[in-house]
Amino acid sequence: MKIAVCIKRVPVMEVKFVITADGTRVEETGLKYDINDFDLWAIEAGLQLKEKHNNVGEVVVISLGPDTAQEQIRKAMAMGADRGILLKTDSAPADGLAIARALAAELKDGGYDLVLFGRIAIDSMNQMTGPMVAELLDLPCVTNVFKLEITGATARAERALEGASEVVEFPLPALLTIDDGMNKERLPSLKGIMAAKKKPLEIKAAQFSDVRVTITKMALPADRAAARILGDSSAAVPELIRLLQTEAKVL
């Protein structure tokens, strides 16, 4: 099996983000980065599939991002991916389609049996690149996959919905986006990290066509204040219900 896994370098989220003075970007100084969680599960899914097929085939990791995204590609290779491709750009556009086109151009002639994405990138939270690439390459596409069985050239997957799931069948080659619950990613061993240093990593410039989505402003949501104490007995319940309905809008 030849599997491509598209991954993204994203900031570590346990920080207080700061908005730049011009109000359009998140300050990057001091941020740490890692592979997007969902992409880790996509990598893991790819590795497990290859292992299930007696390690015949190849897992290729593709990332669109800055030069430093090589770190994330190396990490994926430390986990076990065979080689990596970086589509290098210093400023990726906010337009998911522009990114999808750049990725599709790279994937088009790759001869992949399976293209895997994470369900969502936790930085842009666009959750659109995968199905867009599928459309551009005319591949069958299943999103939010958390269970997968491949038998020859056909496959069966289960995709997550809100509080439900769907079982789908589709032929290969195909493009899938991987959701939480599919697996738990392996941590690279030091042995893997050493081996990854010697694996091939190709760097190309990413090409973007017309961009129609732009970020015009960035802001921080209001801070979460300490709990509003509503009372010391069940007398506070009506007020709680009211707040859950009108303010928090969760009831």
Partner: protein, 682 residues
């Protein structure tokens, strides 16, 4: 030479020949292990040999059994002189030391032989009685070689009895009675014998004695009683009581280009010293008896870690011997070689049960380092195979991403300090000021709400004492100790080097922290990575401040309390700090009564959080924190004092779980509660 001398000479040559072969084999097998220099600091090593080896200080921690063993040991040392005499007699019958020694030396020699024959015989009888009748728990449980112990003890008893018979029978045949203080008492037993019969009895006993010694010598190499020969050597080469920093994990070179194995999955990845530990273990079980994991029903037994290391070495090395250099292995032989120490002899479950509390190491009378083997095997699991309990993954991932084992934001690190007017190092630099000490808060102190109260309490003490201190705030990150204990040396070094860089950036010299794990890591393990600081635990720091009268305390008022102090392993066994927390408590609460649980100080029972256990599930057996908390509550204490945020969590959980409302407080909280507001010291 008489015919009997010739016969004995043949026996002697054969026995020594066999023994030499065994000794060479054992020595060759040791070389399967990795090379390691253990000849540094010969002064410290020799001191260890004298104290732990010859003076038997560690074995005497068990007052009865220890004294019995010590008598046997010292007896053997003294009786060795007599043994040489006997072996020479085998070749030249009339020989006695009397021929060589002046009278004033020979007489004490005779007395010593007489006395120690008894001093050995009595404990051996007791030890046999203990093995066969009392049967202490630590002699069972593990599949160990109890039968061999009985056999050896019986053999020693026979040696002593034959020796006394020789002495007494010789008196009957007219030997000098000078100094024969024991055998002269036995003489009446031989009164009915003619001198000729007595001579025969003496000769027969002599033969039994001499042959038994030679048999004993050859029995040792294949048995657990090899320790008779190796333990003194082992004590000299051991690092468990120094030289070096206690409990510091083995340094590891991750940059070595040719390194292909990290940690150990089989005996060849261990050091020769780990293998010598195997030779030196006599399966006494003192380690297992104090192991918190074992006590609470987990699979781990430190004794079996060592016993299995020896067994795997024997299995593998003897197979390699059988194959020979350049030989081809049979299928069965290959199957033996393909096995591993890890998994085939020691399982993952055992390794992850360890709390790294160091009780086993502390207890071993011959300075075996069980923990070193466990750590090396854990390293292989994580670094080579990425195999570990799945619940560790969030902690490891968070350490990598957030510089803390919990996924909290570094920007929240100094939240506790809001409104307290505590500067960060960065702020001081900006102002052009300097701090005397860096208060290292630690991840628990920064993020755990309960621990934050300790942080605040300690900061208030520092402020009350007018100490010029600063924190790192957002710049603090975990030094990676949890990762290191979990076996992830790679992550550890990454984090530790980052911290050292930060500390050196501010030219930090003195660090005070209330987390014993931070304290141990930064003080004892950072030097291997080039980070050299004076690191002080807050209990010692507070104790110094109190001793200097720098903290305005109200020591007059308050109710009389019973306080039990729980020793942290990383403070106690890792750093020998037992008195400072107790003295600090007494200074702050002169009217309190300090009570001790049965297991205390260097025998203190772990809270269960060490060795990365804080981030693991505990599903087998009784929980360690419950065991410990029950013991602390049983002292009848009104308060339990701790000196570690991890102990705090575990003991609080245990106390609450037991339905008790006894408060668990950090030493600093006890002291801070006695601060005189706005007080000035005299």
């Amino acid at each position: 030479m008489s015919p009997s001398n010739i016969v004995f000479a043949i026996i002697l040559v054969v026995a020594l020949g066999f023994f030499t072969r065994s000794a060479q084999r054992l020595n060759r097998w040791l070389k399967i292990g990795r090379d390691e220099n253990r000849t540094d600091h010969p002064d410290v090593r020799t001191k260890n040999l004298l104290l732990i080896g010859l003076a038997q200080t560690k074995i005497l921690r068990d007052p009865i059994g220890g004294m019995m063993h010590a008598l046997v040991f010292w007896g053997f040392c003294i009786l060795a002189l007599g043994t040489v005499e006997i072996l020479i007699q085998g070749l030249y019958t009339p020989f006695t030391w009397d021929l060589l020694l002046p009278r004033f030396l020979y007489l004490p020699y005779v007395v010593s032989q007489e006395l120690f024959a008894v001093f050995v015989l009595i404990p051996v009888a007791y030890l046999l009685y203990r093995r066969l009748v009392i049967k202490p728990a630590r002699f069972s449980g593990d599949p160990v070689h109890g039968g061999d112990a009985v056999f050896i003890l019986s053999m020693i008893a026979t040696l002593m009895v034959t020796l006394l018979i020789i002495f007494a029978a010789d008196l009957r045949t007219g030997a000098s009675p000078d100094g024969r203080i024991v055998s002269s008492l036995l003489l009446p037993l031989f009164g009915g014998l003619t001198p000729e019969s007595a001579h025969t009895v003496s000769r027969v006993s002599w033969w039994i004695h001499a042959v038994l010694i030679l048999y004993f010598l050859n029995h040792l190499p294949g048995s657990k009683h090899l320790h008779v020969l190796t333990s003194l050597i082992n004590v000299w080469f051991s690092n468990t009581s120094g030289p070096g920093r206690l409990g510091a994990m083995r340094p590891m070179d991750l940059e070595a280009e040719d390194a292909e194995q990290f940690g150990a999955s089989d005996v060849e990845h261990l050091s020769w010293k780990n293998l010598l530990d195997g030779y030196s273990c006599t399966e006494c079980g003192r380690c297992t008896a104090v192991c918190p994991a074992n006590i609470t029903g987990k699979l781990l037994s430190p004794r079996m870690i060592v016993v299995n290391t020896r067994a795997r070495l024997t299995e593998k090395a003897s197979t390699l011997d059988a194959i020979g250099v350049g030989g081809t292995a049979t299928a069965e032989q290959q199957a033996v070689l393909d096995k591993n120490l890890l998994d085939d002899w020691i399982t993952e479950e055992e390794l992850w049960a360890c709390t790294s509390c160091r009780a086993c190491v502390q207890e071993c009378p011959v300075s075996i380092d069980q923990l070193d083997i466990i750590n090396e095997l854990r390293r292989d699991l994580v670094l080579m195979e990425s195999r570990f309990p799945e619940e560790l993954q969030p902690a490891l991932t968070s350490l990598e991403r957030n510089g803390s084992p919990w996924a909290f934001s570094a920007s929240d690190r100094a939240q506790w300090a809001e409104g307290m007017d505590i500067p960060t190092m960065a702020e001081l630099v900006e102002r052009g000021e300097k701090a005397d000490i860096l208060f290292w808060v630690g991840c628990m102190g920064s993020f755990d709400d309960r621990s934050k109260k300790i942080t605040v309490a300690f900061a208030r003490i520092l402020q009350a004492a007018n100490v010029r201190f600063a924190i790192l705030g957002q710049e603090e990150t975990c030094h990676g100790d949890p990762a290191r204990r979990m076996g992830n040396e790679y992550l550890y070094q990454m984090l530790a080097k980052g911290v050292i860089e930060t500390l050196d950036g501010y030219a930090v010299k003195t660090i005070v922290t209330f987390c014993p794990h931070c304290f141990h890591q930064m003080g004892n393990e950072f030097p291997d990575l080039g980070g050299n600081y004076e690191v002080i635990h807050h209990t010692e720091y507070i104790e110094r401040l109190l001793a200097d009268g720098r903290v305005p305390l109200d020591t007059e008022h308050g109710e009389r309390l019973k306080v039990a102090y729980h020793d942290s392993c990383y403070l106690g066994r890792y750093n020998d700090i037992y008195d400072a927390p107790r003295t600090a408590l007494k200074r702050a609460l002169p009217i309190m009564e300090l009570v001790e649980p049965p297991r205390t100080k260097d025998r203190g029972l772990c809270c269960g959080a060490g060795g990365g256990r804080m981030w693991m599930e505990e599903n087998v057996g009784k929980r360690v924190n419950v065991e410990r908390s029950e013991e602390l509550l049983a002292t009848g204490a009104d308060q339990i004092a701790v000196a570690c945020p991890f102990c705090m969590t575990m003991i609080t959980d245990g106390v609450t779980g037991a339905g008790s409302t006894v408060p668990v407080l950090d030493i600093s909280e006890v002291i801070a509660a006695r601060l005189i507001p706005g007080g000035v010291t005299a």
